[in-house]
């Protein structure tokens, strides 16, 4: 490795081709930013392949939180003193960081929530209750995470909407035609994942949004697995809502984002009631602030928002396009290696995939695979991945899933393969 060239590679996107080894992604260097990756599990170096569930945190994020709590902490928005003013400024600055990261048009299109799950529930309960009537239709796809199913089912219970499910192909793709075929004059929203958390499929977001817009249908993109694997430009995608959680983007728990187009957010009633979202309160009548503050009741996750800002700065410095390319290489490598294992079947073979490989093995249950891999220092997830309807559609009770991050290296995949050989040895 060319030590002196690395810093240039480490710089922003555009400069990449200036460095000595242009295609080299300095994964060993980035790994040093993540303290947890240095540990051993059962005598093996940790191969953390559960990024789909949550990503690890770089030192820069942990330190940003620590520094904030040690030096700058105060409640925000309501304090006249400097500490509170400084904290407010740092907190509000993250709105700008997020706006730039997803290329939203306005800062007030960025609502801070506690996570993607809350973001979707918020849309269902505010936009949904206000604008939908009994018999109105929502389309979601067969590969959604529970977070993009259950809130709509609850809304169905409450007001009698109809939930339509767009099918997937045997490869695990969502086809625009199949969604189009479900659209009727009563279709009001299409909600779908950017990237499937089980199959890794990248959905044709821009195309789906285009046909939705043509019929005046609102779109909600569950970006939990998109934001961490791909560069995201909400204006290029053309969606009305885009949601994600900080913790899958190398940021803290307890902070999430709801991006909503300005005019749509402005039309939505508040979600939770409390401090900081009101304009004025009397016992008779209460008026609410404008978006985004209207949707941010109570003391927000201040320190966590600062942490998310640091996480976005971290990945932006590396460059999301470069991270995507690196993860693609890992995906290709992993797919090749896994395919060569006898009795192993990869679940989800769409041509456009990102960062995730699910699989089953002939004689071993995914849960047993998980335990054996853990013994080999390899952390994967086994189960239904909060996507039971998809599992049922696939006729599977569970899959094993390896999911990648910017710090995933070929050695992690090699460790996975060694572990899977052990599975075959025991169960073969």
């Amino acid at each position: 490795m060319n030590e002196s060239a690395s810093p240039v590679c480490y710089a922003a996107e555009g400069e990449m081709f200036a460095c000595a080894a242009p295609t080299r992604f300095a994964v060993d260097q980035y790994r040093k930013d993540f303290p947890i990756l240095a540990q051993s599990i059962n005598g093996h170096p940790l191969a953390y392949l559960d990024n789909g569930a949550s990503a690890q945190k770089p030192r820069m994020v942990i330190e940003a939180m620590t520094r904030f709590m040690e030096n700058d902490y105060a409640n925000i928005h309501r304090g006249v003193y400097q500490l509170s003013q400084k904290a407010t400024d740092k907190y509000e600055a993250v709105r700008g960081i997020v706006r730039r990261f997803i290329n939203a048009e306005y800062e007030d299109e960025i609502v801070f929530t506690h996570g993607a799950t809350e973001s979707i529930n918020l849309v269902a309960q505010t936009w949904g209750r206000k604008f939908l009537n009994s018999g109105d239709e929502i389309i979601i796809t067969a590969l959604e995470h529970h977070a993009n199913i259950v809130p709509w089912q609850m809304l169905r219970e409450q007001i009698g909407i109809v939930l339509k499910i767009a099918p997937i192909t045997p490869q695990g793709e969502v086809r625009v035609e199949d969604i189009k075929a479900l659209i009727t004059p009563r279709t009001k929203l299409i909600g779908f994942a950017h990237v499937s958390n089980v199959l890794g499929t990248i959905l044709p977001v821009a195309d789906i949004c285009a046909i939705a817009r043509a019929s005046n249908i609102v779109t909600l993109v569950d970006g939990c697995q998109g934001i961490c694997h791909l560069p995201v430009d909400v204006r290029a995608l053309g969606c009305d809502f885009y949601v994600f959680s900080g913790h899958k983007l190398y940021g803290p728990n307890g902070i999430g984002i709801l991006y909503g187009r300005r005019d749509i957010l402005a039309s939505m009633p508040p979600y939770q009631g409390g401090g900081d979202m009101i304009e004025s309160v009397t016992f008779e009548k209460t008026t609410y602030k404008e978006a985004p503050h209207r949707f941010e009741a109570g003391t927000p996750p201040i320190t966590e928002t600062i942490g998310l800002g640091a996480a976005i700065e971290y990945v932006s410095t590396i460059g999301m396009a470069r991270i995507a390319r690196h993860e693609d290489e890992i995906l290709v490598y992993a797919s090749e290696k896994l395919s060569a294992i006898d009795g192993l079947k990869i679940i989800g073979t769409a041509p456009h995939k990102s960062g995730i490989v699910s699989f089953t093995m002939k004689d071993a249950h995914p849960h047993d695979i998980g335990t054996i891999l853990d013994k080999c220092g390899v952390a994967i997830r086994a189960g239904h991945h909060c996507a039971q309807p998809l599992m049922e559609h696939l006729g599977l009770a569970a899959t094993a899933r390896a999911s990648f991050g910017l710090y995933t290296m070929r050695e992690d995949i090699d460790a996975l393969v060694v572990g899977l050989e052990k599975v075959r040895e025991i169960f073969g």
Binding site: D363, H367, K375, C376, H384, M391, A397, A398, F427
Partner: protein, 153 residues
């Protein structure tokens, strides 16, 4: 490491996991329950026939799951035949203690059953797998308590 794993995946377990015994429905079961471990998707459909004297005449199951849960269910069906409900409860206690690393008292228990349970006790080093080993037994408890779901017909 392999030795560790071999403690968990003993031949007896692997054998029952692959070729579960009493893997069928019982037509004249007077107890029945469904067990589910949402974590790994283990599902078990348990049938029990108890005679008037309170002796378990037959136990069988269907379903799917990991090697541990299937093996545990399979071995359970074998060891319960001819036992009373009270004896079954004692075996469950013993299994529960063994699987969670608590002192387990085997006095008065069926020796053969004790050996089988000992083979399962390797899960004690895998806290998250304890649920797999005990699923069938929890389902048994619930089956014996309620006669609701399946009748003798």
């Amino acid at each position: 490491m392999t030795d560790d794993l071999r403690d968990l995946y003993q031949d007896l377990i692997l054998d029952h996991g692959k070729r579960p015994r009493n893997f069928r429905a019982i037509d004249n079961a007077n107890h029945h329950a469904l067990g589910h471990n949402p974590l790994c998707g283990d599902k078990i459909d348990l049938f029990v026939a108890v005679d008037e004297a309170g002796i378990i005449q037959d136990v069988a199951f269907q379903g799917s799951g990991c090697a541990i849960s299937v093996a545990s269910a399979s071995m359970m069906t074998e060891m319960l035949k001819g036992k009373t409900e009270a004896e079954a409860a004692k075996l469950f206690d013993y299994l529960h203690h063994s699987c969670t690393g608590k002192p387990a008292d085997e006095t008065g228990l069926d020796e053969d059953a004790v050996d089988r349970i000992k083979a399962l006790a390797g899960v004690r080093d895998y806290p998250i797998r304890v649920k797999c080993a005990t699923l069938a037994w929890h389902t048994l408890q619930s089956a014996l308590k309620s006669k609701a779901k399946v009748s003798t017909e």
